[in-house]
Structure formats: C-alpha cells, structure tokens
C-alpha cells in the first residue's frame, strides 16, 4: 500500500483533479490502455497508469473503484475528462515519464501489480 502523495513524488506528477482526495492510498497498480483488461484484472483501490486519455478511462475507474488515475508520457486529458473525474472524487495525475519508466519507479517504491485473476470474481 502506497500513499497517493508518495506516488506523486515518485513520478514528479502534476495533480490535475481531485486534489482533495490525495490522502488516499493505492493498494496495487495496473498499467493499461485496454479498459476491458482494467475491468477484468484490477481490484478495488488499484492505481491505474494509462496512456489513453478519454472519458472511458474515468468511467472504467468509477465502476472499478480505482484509487486514482495517472496519465503517462504527458498525455493531457481534456477539461471534460477532468470535470468528470472531479465529480466522481477521483484523483488524476499526469507524469512526463513513459509507461515503462513510471511503472518501474512505482514498483521500486513497493507498489505491487494486480494478480492475473480479478478479485471479486465468482468463477
């Protein structure tokens, strides 16, 4: 478990939305551009790193109860995306690092990946 502020520091990230929720923690992390994979393989309170900046990312984060979003490689989300995240209470960060670099930095400070099988699966 790693605090979001620690994540922000490790990624030298800018907080773009949900600054008041940055006290939360991430239990694990997932790097993906495929939202169906996020929906299938994350657990609650997962931190999502993605290079995909569209509305589906926020919706996926909401239904999956993710802890926060990080847009990598300086991908800048639109104001609509940020407003949607804000209204869902979802912190959004942006880092200049690439996906590989960002994941590596977080792994190095103790954030673990999601197990290959989803958490709440019934079968």
């Amino acid at each position: 478990m790693v605090g979001l502020k620690t994540v922000q520091k490790a990624l030298q990230a800018e907080v773009l939305a949900g600054a008041q929720y940055m006290d939360k923690e991430a239990e694990m992390a997932c790097g993906a551009d495929l939202m169906s994979d996020v929906l299938a393989f994350t657990k609650r309170k997962t931190l999502l790193l993605t290079g995909l900046a569209n509305m589906q990312v926020v919706k996926t984060a909401d239904v999956s109860d993710l802890s926060a979003l990080v847009f990598v490689r300086g991908k800048e989300p639109t104001p609509e995306i940020l407003a949607a995240a804000e209204s869902k209470g979802l912190p959004v960060m942006m880092t200049k690092y690439t996906m590989f670099e960002a994941c590596g930095r977080l792994y190095a400070i103790g954030l673990i990946g999601c197990p290959p099988k989803g958490a709440e699966e019934r079968r």
């Binding site: 495929l34 929906l39 299938a40 989803g118 699966e121 019934r122 079968r123």
Partner: protein, 137 residues
C-alpha cells in the same frame, strides 16, 4: 425496485450512464462495495456491447433484498456463435473501438465471471438478451 435505462447506439460519451446510476442506487441502500463493483462492471461491459455491437439497447435492473438482476437487451444483429463470443480474446470490434480501450474480447467472459448466474440468449437478425444475477452474500 425496478429501474430502466436506454443505451444510445454508438454514442461513447453517454455510455455508462446505466452502470453509474445503478451503482449510486446500490450505494444508497447500503449494498457491500465489492458486490456493487461486480454489478457495475458487468453492467458497464454489457452497455458497451450494446453500444458497440448492437446499435443501442436497454438495461433493466431489478434490485431486490437478496440480490440484483440485470437484464441487457438489444435488437441488434445477434451473435452467430455464442461459444466463440464467450472466449477470452475473441472480438469482431473494429479498430476505432480498440482505440477507445474496448474490443479486447474480454467483456462477455468478464460479465460471466462477475455474476453469480449468467444467461445469454441471441438470435441472428433479432437481437440479444443477457441476464446476470448478483447475490449480495
């Protein structure tokens, strides 16, 4: 309690309204968060399928004391080979859908995994109906 939502065909911006609203309703009546998560994920994938593959459809949620039933129906093209469609990774989604983060062929199998009971009925040229049951315990 029974609620109903229309899923607009092809309109990615409005996709996910049903799952977001059902999630809020279930939170208000105090259903455990992990159960809500399964329901929201199953419903969201179903909505996306309606929107992407069937030109829109309908989501009905029957919220009962023991569990919730979600019925997602459309009058789209139907699914010719359900067994194939249920396989992880099998998809007919066009590239623009993949660019939006969907079309990985993980939706139907995940809907089955998230639910306690899963039923799919489909007829080519008539449409598809998916029924998912979720128990709170």
């Amino acid at each position: 309690m029974k609620v109903e939502y229309q899923v607009p065909g092809g309109d990615f911006d409005r996709a996910g309204e049903a799952s977001a609203n059902i999630k809020k309703l279930l939170q208000r009546i105090g259903i455990p968060a992990d159960v809500i998560r399964r329901i929201a994920i199953g419903t969201y994938e179903g909505e996306m399928n309606c929107l992407i593959h069937a030109g829109g459809g309908r989501v009905v949620a029957e919220i009962e004391p023991e569990g919730t039933v979600i019925i997602i129906s459309d009058q789209g093209p139907g699914i010719p080979d359900i067994q194939k469609a249920m396989q992880e990774g099998w998809s007919t989604a066009p590239d623009y859908v993949r660019a939006m983060g969907f079309g990985a062929g993980m939706g139907l199998p995940n809907m089955m995994k998230c639910s306690d009971d899963f039923n799919i009925q489909s007829k080519v040229g008539e449409g598809s109906t998916i029924t998912m049951k979720f128990l709170y315990k």
